[in-house]
């Protein structure tokens, strides 16, 4: 399998318009335009990376592109697609795929990712990451879609595991079995969202550690951490909502520490998409992640990669 998220081939071809900032072992944050002045004024401008939602940069021009161009000059960038609808049975939207590929070419991101989910059915776009059953039929569809995306962008895609609230009666395999098979068939990389694992584990009544032990960690090229909210299910039990509107929960930090202990440092993003705080708050969360990454980078890794696929 090719190295996941490798960027060096194109660098050698001399096609880079931006510096090839390395992203290995860094903690980063979601890039919000209101933070740009604070980021540029920050005296400690070192390390870190920024992730953007691809769809916000699919307009022709204007301030979004100006801001992203400015940030890309100084930092590695991760391009995160939200609405490719890879997990849906209908064919991918070719126009959308073209726009996505054009962004990859234009901004030369260090990481490129999308979701194991769907959001479009027929011609309606539902603006949410909707779940899919895990069956042989859906597996075949998702693998075809990932092949198509990887062909269009000319590099491996990182696929993100979902946060889920329901189960499909027709599912015939576990989420980890499904993801392992997708990796095997397509050679894609993985974006492991540890908050999503924790949210799904709580909601579905399984062990987050069991899930992570069964996950192909060797293919993980990025990690997401985020905050979640609490509600109740029909029986009055805890139901967690993947809300991205607050600090990372202690339990998620603990799981992150364990995963990095097993896997070694991986670029890690603090996702914060609503109720967005000041830059200093976001930066503090990223620094907490960086501390854990650095601690595991400093000591010889305990080889616990039994889970790596």
């Amino acid at each position: 399998m090719p190295e996941v998220a490798s960027h060096t081939d194109r660098a050698q071809q001399g096609t880079l318009r931006f510096p090839a900032h390395p992203i290995d072992g860094l903690a980063g944050t979601s890039f919000k335009h209101q933070h740009l002045p604070s980021i540029l004024a920050d005296e400690e401008r070192r390390g870190g990376f920024f992730e953007v939602h691809a769809e916000n940069y699919m307009g022709a021009g204007g301030p979004p592109h100006a801001a992203l161009t400015r940030i890309r000059e100084d930092y590695p960038v991760s391009l995160h697609g939200v609405c490719m609808s890879i997990g849906g049975p209908q064919p991918l939207d070719k126009d959308h795929l073209g726009r996505f590929a054009a962004l990859v070419q234009r901004y030369e991101p260090a990481l490129v990712s999308e979701h194991l989910a769907w959001s479009t059915h027929d011609t309606t776009y539902y603006n949410d990451l909707l779940p899919l059953p895990y069956t042989e039929a859906s597996l075949r569809r998702v693998a075809e879609h990932i092949d198509e995306v990887q062909e269009a962008i000319g590099r491996p895609l990182l696929l993100e595991n979902p946060s889920t609230y329901v189960v499909f009666k027709e599912s015939t395999m576990s989420e980890t079995a499904f993801i392992r098979e997708i990796v095997k068939r397509t050679g894609c990389g993985l974006l492991l969202d540890i908050n999503n694992v924790f949210v799904s584990a709580t909601n579905q009544g399984f062990s987050a550690l069991d899930y992570l032990s069964d996950y192909p960690l060797g293919r993980v090229a990025e990690i997401h951490l985020a905050g979640h909210a609490e509600q109740e299910d029909d029986e009055g039990d805890l139901l967690l909502i993947d809300s991205h509107d607050g600090p990372v929960a202690d339990a998620v930090w603990k799981l992150f520490d364990i995963v990095i202990g097993w896997r070694g440092p991986v670029p890690t993003l603090i996702e914060w998409d609503s109720a967005i705080p000041e830059w200093s708050v976001l930066k503090r969360e990223a620094r907490a992640a960086q501390t854990i990454l650095d601690r595991h980078a400093a000591v010889p890794r305990q080889e616990k990669l039994h889970a790596c696929g």
Partner: protein, 266 residues
């Protein structure tokens, strides 16, 4: 490494879960789809409601972000109720967040509870045009002195190429004044203007600008943006509006950066 590429899956084999999942997403009257459940025999109503809530609330937020002055005029509760009706009637067809809301001004115009605010739809039209200008392609604007190099005899035949961001919203109400008073965070004083105002929306660099056009200027500029030669557009402006001031109209549109270039017509 690639997945088996032999034969594309037939449409007949296409899994049907979206057909069974989506009807209840935007219709609270429908039951939770039978294909989903909670784990270990649990119910799934509140669980499915998470998706319902995500879809509707995120789209309401998208409209609130695109139409802030409209929301400030109506108040948040009114706006969110109006937006919810619109989302159920006209959900998005594009995955791009800034494409949504094109039909919202027309919806507002016929929305029963907004009939007492007849200018509201035009304010929303200005906000929708603002968003289009914000995302429009970058291009240099025609410098104001460019007309100075045109020989007087050639002037009537000049064609103006619109800048990609330029939009005009014509209104029978003081829509620009109402828009400007409500778009920011400042206090809204009593609005004394009653005259019709058309809006010129431009983005000469990175900032979107909204100006009020004098009577006749809107017709003149619409004509120019439609590709009419300068002479014809001037006649159209004057015909529609006797007090039309051509020199002032040219000055304001050039200053606004409404054009990208001029060329000599055939």
């Amino acid at each position: 490494m690639h997945a088996a590429k032999g034969r594309p899956s037939e449409a007949a084999e296409r899994p049907g879960y979206p057909e069974r999942f989506v009807p209840a997403l935007l219709d609270p009257g429908r039951p939770t789809p039978a294909l989903v459940a909670g784990p270990n025999g649990k119910a799934a109503d509140k669980r499915f409601n998470v998706y319902r809530n995500n879809v509707t609330v995120s789209l309401i937020e998208a409209l609130a972000a695109a139409f802030p002055a409209t929301m400030r005029i109506t108040g948040e509760a009114f706006f969110r109720a109006m937006a919810r009706f619109h989302i159920r009637e006209t959900p998005p067809t594009s995955p791009l967040p800034f494409e949504y809301g094109r039909d919202f001004p027309d919806f507002i115009e016929r929305y029963e509870y907004a009939q007492s605010m007849p200018w509201l739809a035009d304010v929303a039209r200005i906000e929708r045009a603002w968003l289009d200008a914000y995302h429009a392609a970058d291009a240099a604007v025609l410098p104001p002195h460019a007309l100075a190099s045109v020989r007087p005899a050639d002037l009537a035949g000049i064609i103006f190429e619109p800048h990609p961001a330029t939009r005009i919203i014509r209104s029978a109400y003081p829509a620009v004044t109402v828009f400007s008073a409500n778009r920011g965070d400042g206090p809204v004083g009593r609005i004394e203007v009653a005259a019709a105002e058309s809006a010129l929306i431009t983005r000469p660099a990175l900032e979107v600008e909204v100006r009020s056009l004098q009577p006749g200027s809107d017709v003149f500029l619409s004509s120019l943006l439609g590709g009419e030669p300068f002479g014809n557009a001037a006649v159209t402006g004057k015909t529609c509006c006797p007090e039309f001031d051509l020199a002032a109209a040219v000055a304001v549109t050039l200053e606004a950066g409404a054009f990208a270039a001029i060329r000599h017509g055939g």
